[in-house]
Symmetry: C3
Subunit: 501 residues, 3 copies
């Protein structure tokens, strides 16, 4: 019930606004894509808002993309649920059997697909853990459910928090360490410390590690835009599982306190049971709910003459502002890792990277020596290719493994994993700046090795070894592998003639 | 056979002494308890011993409690075993079937109970690994056998060593790191170091981490009291399993040496096989056996003019003597953890805490951010309540989880686990000082968060967030949550009138 | 096909050379062994090479032993495969059934054997991962496949690389950290660093830790001798599994690059597809292949006036040259561990030890407190005995476990595991210097405890405890356990008379 209501409300909210916007066709790789009219209108509307700054517009556009995605997924869910209902009421038995057979086949195919794509996650791999009128929290399934090859990251869970404009995400604590990244929007984060609440303003790109057990609340400060936070959960004692505990609360969210016996509560809180029952009966708005503009403003941190330290804190790390590791006109890579944050990222052995690939460009072909990447597309479209020895079905009579390419289209919200030591490449589409957030697990001692660009593996090999390895003259190999750009390149193919010249 | 003999001996030992003692009725929480007459006599006898100091008397009383417990458990075991025998001899088939059905039902119920109580362990969850006339070692079953939720501590095993007065616990080494805590009695611990044996006097409350592989022996130095040691085993290479290796020994305990081939032993020990056979044939007393007063005295460490360093060592940490973390008239909490012992507790990521709750008092409602507690009740009676999102069966249509209360009566010897991030509370009964030892696993970076008393989570929330979270005026919330005491409170409920006044 | 060709080639290579050599009979422990004539000839030939230095001769002899081993194993393989083929063509059904029954019984027996020998690995426990004309890589099966007791080392895999004279082992990287040890031969190791290749000369006994992902190639520099490298793989993210990735390559070994799509390769390497196809079509020699003397010389590192740092590097640790931990006329023990190599061995918590036991000698009976040993016999023959509480089948009515002896003959190439805390002993045969390489897992905080020789456990016990533990006068115990030698002893049994005198 909650889903449908919310759905129509949101539709209303969107139809109220929009018009038309021409989406750049995704023609480069031979794909023609027709954009949803609703999406077009949404985007057009963004550009019409004259009071918006350019970055406001940018955010608005991205919000459209993410919303659109969300909608498609819901429609898919509805479709999937429909035939099941039919099973029990309308259809004749014969039809049922046929359907069931078809479904079996579909499942088989899906199974095969999954076996072929152990590292790519679809929207349907998320389940909705929390859904209220104010927003929702979607959690990606256990990585090992997708493939046993992902054992190395089986303890982790990725969640995406979506909060509608001007909402309050109720105070809670998790039994997991959490690393939070603001993908889109402006948030206020309240962290309960020893005797007070420290308030952080989270801009887009801000990263915050939050130790397990720390009570936190979140506010979407924007009046118009949704807030999207990526949350990597690192469970402390139940591998691959995490739970929410609401302290302050009532009926919904339910307060953990109300589960204690009456005599405990009375003695602990020094209050008669009637008073306590009144307290724990009030909250029924859910764990994410709409608040007024005034309430948003009241929650804003304020520095004052009397309380100079109660003002807003800034998270230590914003991935947009970090000094780049690699940067040229084709892309930028920024990182924050164990060496930057001894307290948290080092303990968690985790690095966050943000790859920002200019339109029609690519990263070099490369691999991480020790780190496995959990990547989330924040913005733009493109492709990923991962090369993998595991899934090859070819019987090899050769002296080494065969390799198989896993590739996937990328669009906002898409999640993929790149296991350590596996070579891969990221590409952006025409007119699409591709923005990918990566959680790099096991980041300590990690090194990146490249296969193209300055100081790549092949050009670093001595000539004699090169010649033996390729069974090809080293000067010809060198011509192919020596190129001056580092890490990011334009996605252009030389013509046979030009290159030979 | 060994069990029955030992049992009658012990009965004799107790009936020889006792009389009558009025046990304070456990009336506060509506429970009327009738004390076993044997237990009464035992306790009375303790109080009659005029040569005893007050602390001697205290220990004697506690020993009665633990003994009583032990006896009840044995009786239960005997009861459980009886019907099984009948199955095979006396009953008609019909009766057997009925019994078997009943037993199935019982098992089902037990199953459900276990599902409901993943964190509480009964006496029947221990199995007796060693049983001799001199004492026994009981080992708690694997934690994950109780519940998959305990995966985080699945590597650990808890054992309780009980040694009768004036006994010798034979030299052995374990393939696990061991943390030993003296719950009751006075012991001598011999640790074999590089070229000599270091002797430690272990008083009640002493804690000793012992690295895997270290040969050790133990002596119960008391002529009248049993010795109770809690031993947390942290297996090094076989998760959740540990083994004993007896070097010195003979037939029983069997020496590991006697398993080597004759030529190995002869060459290593430079002795003909006849001599070696004589050596390894002598010991047949078992791994814990009675020794004379003179033998106990001969084992005592002595400092002399010639050997100034051969005197007794004292363990570095006694949990009764540590500076308290929290202390008031309602209770005291002492701790020793990674920061105190870089060599062992830090490596094991372990903290030991001792909660000493005055009669009719309680701990605050609180949780540990990272540490999971394995708790053993040493003395007194009371209750524990743990709040848990996992076992709730209610289908929630709400935006968060439902919570379920797990509660259990506490008495000496009871074991329970409190998972990290789960709020819980400890309470003592009327006239009962509750003494609980906790092994806190994953102790580094752990913080305690409270829901009542000074600086609790709710009072540390800013007023605006508080008001939103509870949907209740913040001044009313504050009235309930602001209280000056820290961590320990009296277990008293305010009357409706007084509190409203 | 590859197997047979290689086999005949090698046979040819050996028959071309040899004559006759009298192998010292293995009489000490009652075993009469008849040496294979081929092996005799091989060894004789080694001794006839006048241009060889003494150490050259030594290596040559060892190479014979290893080759012989290899051959026996292949013959076994061929035998095993033969009856299977018959099943499908020649035999009648009755015979098939009988055979199948026999095979079942064999398997049962084998099962029992394995249960009895969880710690001993046979040649048949290796599988051949790579096999080319130039050499092969054999990988030991997962340790936990042998026994669940080996969970503590389940993540690790042991591989043996064998490369024929003057061969090139193609550049590749692994998704595992690798610790490489040169068991026999002289190699060149190329490690691809940031912008160049660092070349190491690996002599026998050299140890090299190689971080995951590092591209490496290997050259067997010897014209006549095989190269044998032990490689311990420590997978980073897929426990117990590792994979090879060939960057430079072609058809065989297949280059990972060729699995990327054409547009990726063209854009990354700035070359038209025709050129790239030519490049990735050349290599078809396999991942280990023969190269010419000139090619070997060309690969040799050279220091020059212009490039003073491009000369050969030496690995930091050679286990033959390390200062000994224990050394006397009966044996030598050298070690390199966490304290010596903060960068790698400390991170991997690993120690390498080399035990060199003189002929007819033994190590003391001892155990490691924390480290589990993975041992590979490099040279010589002898025996190992491990004492183990786990596999005992005897129902014990005693107060402790029973122990069982696991023993195995040792010969070059044999692998065995000694779990931490388990007492064991190594012995060499008559005329056989036993050389054993051990990877010690979980090496930090490890201590060795001995049962014989100076400062052993028993002699370090105080006399009163000793007397109680053995139930035997301490002066008699002391006579047996006090011996002055440390760690290595002669393997001689005193006669009953002499010892009693």
């Amino acid at each position: 019930m909650a889903i449908t209501t919310n759905f129509s409300l949101t539709l209303f909210f969107f139809f109220f606004f929009f018009f038309f916007f021409l989406f750049p066709l995704f023609s480069n790789l031979g794909l023609a894509q027709v954009e949803d009219p609703e999406l077009k209108t949404c985007k057009h509307q963004c550009l019409q808002q004259h009071q918006y700054s350019q970055s406001d517009q940018q955010q608005c556009l991205q919000s459209c993309e993410l919303y659109h995605h969300l909608k498609q997924e819901r429609e898919k869910q509805i479709e999937e649920e429909t035939p099941k209902k039919k099973d029990h009421s309308h259809y004749h038995q014969h039809q049922q059997e046929e359907e069931s057979r078809e479904r079996q086949e579909e499942e088989q195919e899906k199974q095969e697909e999954e076996d072929d794509n152990p590292y790519i996650f679809e929207d349907s791999d998320f389940h909705t853990k929390v859904q209220t009128e104010g927003g929702r929290i979607r959690v990606l399934k256990n990585f090992t459910q997708n493939s046993k090859l992902l054992q190395g990251i089986q303890n982790l869970r990725l969640a995406i928090l979506e909060a509608r404009p001007h909402t309050f995400v109720s105070p809670r604590h998790f039994d997991s360490d959490v690393v939070l990244f603001n993908m889109m929007g402006r948030a206020l984060l309240g962290l309960v410390k020893e005797s007070q609440t420290e308030k952080f303003i989270l801009e887009r790109g801000d990263m915050m590690p939050i130790p397990a057990g720390t009570p936190l609340y979140i506010v979407n400060r924007e009046e118009r835009e949704k807030l999207f936070l990526a949350m990597l959960h690192i469970p402390v004692s139940t591998p691959g599982k995490f739970e929410e505990f609401f302290g302050p609360g009532g009926q919904d969210p339910e307060s953990v306190l109300s589960a204690f016996s009456q005599n405990v509560l009375q003695a602990a809180l020094q209050s008669p049971i009637g008073k306590l029952e009144r307290l724990f009966n009030q909250q029924n708005e859910g764990s994410i709910f709409k608040i007024s503009k005034e309430q948003v403003q009241a929650l804003a941190p304020r520095r004052s003459y009397w309380r100079p330290f109660s003002g807003p804190s800034r998270p230590e790390f914003n991935l947009f502002n970090r000094r780049t590791t690699y940067s040229n006109e084709y892309g930028r890579l920024t990182e924050v890792g164990p060496a930057d944050d001894k307290d948290n990222l080092d303990r968690l052995n985790l690095m966050l990277t943000l790859a920002n690939i200019s339109q029609e460009s690519m990263s070099t072909i490369h691999y991480n020596s020790h780190a496995t990447k959990i990547a989330v597309v924040i913005d733009g479209r493109g492709f990923v290719q991962i090369v993998c020895p595991h899934v090859s079905k070819a019987k090899h009579e050769k002296s080494g493994p065969s390799y198989h390419r896993i590739s996937s289209e990328l669009k906002p919200g898409k999640v993929f994993v790149v296991p350590q030591a596996h070579p891969f490449v990221l590409m952006s589409s025409k007119g699409q700046n591709l923005l990918v957030l990566c959680f790099e697990i096991n980041a300590r001692d990690n090194k990146k090795f490249t296969f193209a660009g300055k100081d790549n593996i092949v050009s670093s090999l001595d000539d004699n070894a090169k010649e033996l390895a390729f069974n090809y003259p080293s000067d010809l190999v060198n011509k192919i592998f020596n190129r001056k750009e580092t890490f990011f390149f334009p996605l252009e193919s030389p013509s046979e003639e030009r290159a030979d010249a």
